[in-house]
């Protein structure tokens, strides 16, 4: 439970749109527990056939990178062209790469 009694904890919602695709982050919502988070996610995000599967994770369980460290985390990768597999031709049949 959250320390703040007035608010339910925040949950991050991941929805798989189609079988074969990965779960993607759809957004976040409040719920008292995981079961309620699933029900709320159903009402908030999957009412128009958007999904076939839902994951919910309490937001506090996610560790995020610190934007102040963006430099050390992300920038070195950009100037080494050989690290990017951009020299291959992908056949059209391969989707979702």
């Amino acid at each position: 439970m959250s320390n703040n009694k007035k608010n339910w904890p925040l949950w991050e919602i991941f929805v798989r749109s189609k079988n074969g695709l990965e779960h993607r982050h759809f957004g976040s919502l409040h719920a008292a527990d995981a079961e309620m988070a699933l029900e709320n996610a159903r009402d908030v995000y999957t009412r128009r056939n958007e999904g076939v599967s839902i994951w919910v994770v309490e937001s506090k369980n996610i560790t995020a990178s610190n934007p102040e460290q963006n430099g050390e985390l992300f920038e070195p990768a950009q100037d080494k062209v050989y690290r990017h597999p951009t020299f291959y031709d992908l056949p059209d049949e391969v989707k979702h790469m």
Binding site: H30, A31, A32, R42, D43, R47
Partner: protein, 256 residues
């Protein structure tokens, strides 16, 4: 299928006893739009309202077809007088507090689910199709309201007391769910309608089970009231219709 005009009339009336419940409950839930206890529950309740409204449309479209004379679903929804609405008293009861919203929903959903289950075996193909489509939604409604009954009943002292108050207060309207109008009796006999008395016992069993799990007391009062299904409503109904019918009465035939 060809029906005599008397058959059509009975069948039309029968459809109203089912559809008006959904319309009036949808209207009650719609009142909560923007007023739910928290955003997510607000969305859930109005989603349920929309589900019910969608089901209502299917029934009314069918009823309009049976009525002939160029009637439309809107005529049936908006242009009847109070006595012509056949919903049960339970669904017109006000949203007093969240406990009442949940109690009303739960007491209705358990019934609604069992009704549609039976209606899936109707001799009337249109009703079967509507029931097949609706039962998935109603099964979710039942889960939603049942979960909340348990959360509130088995929650804090205050939530338990409020949930119990709502259940006690609305209990007297549950018996009417199993009262059968002439149209219902005729349709049940004909195989198109549902004999609701067949699942009365099962209904009270399932409701009591959830209440017990929620650490709530199953009311024992034997005083029940009815009338809505015959068109005799509580004092709340006039206000509901005033709001529901306002646009269509003020701007006849308006569409949007």
């Amino acid at each position: 299928m060809s029906l005599t005009s008397e058959d059509s009339h009975l069948r039309g009336n029968y459809i109203l006893t089912i559809a008006d419940n959904s319309l009036i409950l949808a209207q009650r839930l719609g009142e909560l739009c923007g007023h739910g206890p928290i955003l997510e529950t607000d969305i859930a309740l109005t989603n349920i309202s929309l589900d019910l409204l969608g089901q209502t449309r299917s029934y009314y479209q069918y009823a309009a077809k049976l009525a002939g004379e160029g009637k439309t679903e809107d005529d049936i929804a908006f242009l009847r007088i109070e006595r012509e609405y056949k919903n049960c008293l339970l669904v017109e009861q006000p949203n007093t507090h969240f406990g009442y919203v949940i109690a009303r929903q739960f007491l209705f959903d358990v019934y609604h689910f069992m009704l549609l289950e039976k209606l899936q075996n109707s001799a009337d193909e249109t009703l079967v199709a509507i029931a097949n489509k609706g039962i998935k939604e109603v099964s979710y409604h039942k889960r939603f309201s049942g979960d909340w009954v348990k959360r509130l009943g088995d929650g804090t002292e205050e939530s338990n007391q409020k949930m119990q108050e709502a259940i006690n207060d609305l209990w007297r309207f549950t018996d009417e769910l199993f009262y059968m109008t002439d149209a219902e009796k005729a349709m049940a006999k004909d195989g198109a309608g549902v004999d609701v008395s067949t699942f009365k016992e099962k209904y009270y069993e399932e409701v009591s089970e959830v209440l017990k799990e929620a650490t709530l007391t199953v009311p024992e009062n034997k005083y029940f009231t009815k009338g809505g299904k015959e068109g005799v409503h509580t004092e709340h109904m006039g206000y509901i219709l005033a709001e529901l019918q306002y646009m269509q009465r003020t701007f006849p035939n308006m569409q949007w």
